[in-house]
């Protein structure tokens, strides 16, 4: 590992060697359209450090076999690596038990798992599910599907003009019919960091379970599911420097045990006859079929990598970078920042007078700068602000202030093209 883990170290620019960190990400060395790549689309997906890429290659070169099945050497090796990844994630989010870590394809599948399994058993006609205006479509549509199937009702926590949840209104929405609160931890469209601890306290005071969509939060801040006391937590590997196609559902044991399987198949059963099938114990009950073995191993190594730098240091550096970007980009005439919550991380969403976000995106791309332009799979957020789309720069700890300066220059160029 190139960077030593120093949990007690004073956080500051001096001990955060971003140039050294950038060396760990081979993709950042390339040029795009004749310019050095400036990758500011980290909320869509993050780049992967070399050690993650090496772990995936090593798996196929030296360890590949199916897990939980064989008596032979390779199968046992693959199983050990796969289960070791589960332990790494358990420790990373401080879950009480490793079997509370369910491997899925991503945060989307994690939420669908809860909506289908928990939802169909415990949520019925006339019940209510609360989400927020800030949700990604992946934390809206699974619940809408459940509502269609059961006759339950979806209710939405409103936000203010800064993009912050109205917690007092949320408290008013809680009643005996509410059977689930599902909210995003860190908004992908605006960067709002929600007061999830308060939300969980309020919901738990009425014994309502809470699911947090943590796809964006996990790469930017230390998440402790036991300290939060959330009931479910969904995360995506590719947004935390791991591979695509792998994610995690954390769930409290007692809830996961009470839930029926989501998908049926191999590995999730204890015994099968045509008369009756009994299901395997956690976590296998929710992991039907051959899993994404190298994805899990790669995610475990991504967690090692994040630990080696330390989430506190990452968070502090990114906070400094976001403040810098907010100041520099916010000062450009014609720029309107969308999402100005007091508590924010990583995301700078903006619009520009008379220039559509797609045109900004194309002009920046011509200068090697990758941003996202569009509705960010969060159309209700866009509707709340009365805009069809925003341009979004989303930061990672391998980004630099110099890159922000180049982004600002790029935006000025877009203004020039359209003047």
């Amino acid at each position: 590992m190139q960077v030593a883990f120093e949990p007690e170290a004073r956080v500051g620019k001096a001990d955060f060697d971003v140039e050294r960190i950038r060396q760990d990400f081979p993709i950042l060395k390339q040029e795009v359209n004749g310019h050095p790549l400036i990758y500011l689309d980290n909320a869509a997906t993050t780049q992967k450090p070399q050690i993650v890429l090496d772990a995936i290659a090593r798996y196929y070169q030296e360890q590949n076999a199916n897990v939980h099945r064989g008596v032979h050497y390779l199968s046992q090796l693959a199983t050990r690596e796969y289960e070791e990844a589960r332990f790494k994630i358990q420790r990373f989010i401080n879950a009480a038990e490793s079997h509370e870590i369910i491997f899925t394809r991503g945060a989307t599948e994690s939420i669908n798992l809860v909506a289908n399994s928990y939802g169909r058993k415990f949520i019925g006609e006339g019940d209510e599910i609360i989400v927020s205006t800030l949700e990604h479509h992946s934390n809206i549509v699974p619940w809408q599907l459940l509502c269609e199937q059961t006759g339950a009702k979806l209710r939405v926590i409103p936000i203010n003009d800064a993009g912050e949840l109205l917690i007092d209104e949320f408290a008013q929405m809680l009643n005996a019919r509410v059977k689930m609160v599902a909210v995003v931890h860190l908004s992908n469209a605006l960067g709002t960091l929600n007061p999830v601890k308060r939300i969980i306290e309020l919901a738990h005071s009425r014994e309502i379970p809470v699911l947090l969509d943590g796809a964006q939060a996990v790469p930017h801040l230390k998440v402790d599911v036991r300290d939060l006391d959330c009931d479910f937590y969904a995360l995506s590997g590719h947004k935390m420097y791991g591979p695509t196609g792998i994610g995690v559902l954390y769930g409290k044991s007692e809830l996961l045990n009470a839930m029926p399987p989501f998908m049926g198949g191999g590995d999730m059963i204890a015994s099968v006859t045509f008369e009756k099938t009994t299901y395997n114990a956690l976590p296998a009950k929710f992991e039907a079929g051959t899993p994404h073995i190298e994805g899990s191993i790669g995610l475990g190594v991504a967690v090692d990598y994040l630990n080696s730098i330390g989430l506190e240091r990452i968070g502090a550096y990114e906070h400094e970078l976001l403040e810098y970007a907010t100041e520099i980009i916010g000062a450009i005439p014609g720029i309107k920042l969308v999402g100005t919550a007091h508590e924010k991380a990583s995301v700078l969403s903006f619009t520009l007078d008379n220039i559509h976000p797609h045109d900004i995106g194309t002009i920046l791309d011509d200068q090697g700068i990758a941003i996202r332009a569009g509705h960010h799979c969060a159309q209700p957020v866009m509707k709340r602000f009365g805009i069809p789309a925003t341009a979004r720069a989303s930061l990672a700890f391998y980004n630099t202030k110099e890159e922000i300066d180049t982004l600002a220059e790029g935006i000025r160029k877009a203004i020039e093209v359209f003047s």
Binding site: N354, H356, D359, T362, P388
Partner: protein, 150 residues
Amino acid sequence: MSDLSELYQQVILDHNKKPRNYKKIEPADREQEGYNPLCGDQITLYLKMNGDVIEDIGFEGSGCAISKASASMMTTVIKGKTKEEAEVLFSEFHRMVKGELDPETDPHHLGRMTILAGVREFPARVKCASLSWHTLHAALEGHRETTSTE
């Protein structure tokens, strides 16, 4: 000329700033919604028909410079054309922005619409340029549902 300045030519920027035929026609013989679900670009197209001839055409909506300019230019080209002529133009335009028709060497009837040929160098923007044309095609076929670029 770089690809970018070919994409954002003055004519295109001008149509974006001052879109032609940006109007609702009431009553319209055909009214068609077009939508690009990937980016949220949205257009409503209004046609006034005289038999098979497109007597008047107007549009409203929101979108990027490319989608707006393409819609604006389309309306100026399409007014007075027959349904059959419009369909030929739709097909030619579609092939041009996908890079299957080279306006320099292949026969076509696109006239000043060829200024949008630069879009073929920007695969992510092809749908922006073709949204209005897909919507026109659907309007002429008499579809009722919102047309999608997907």
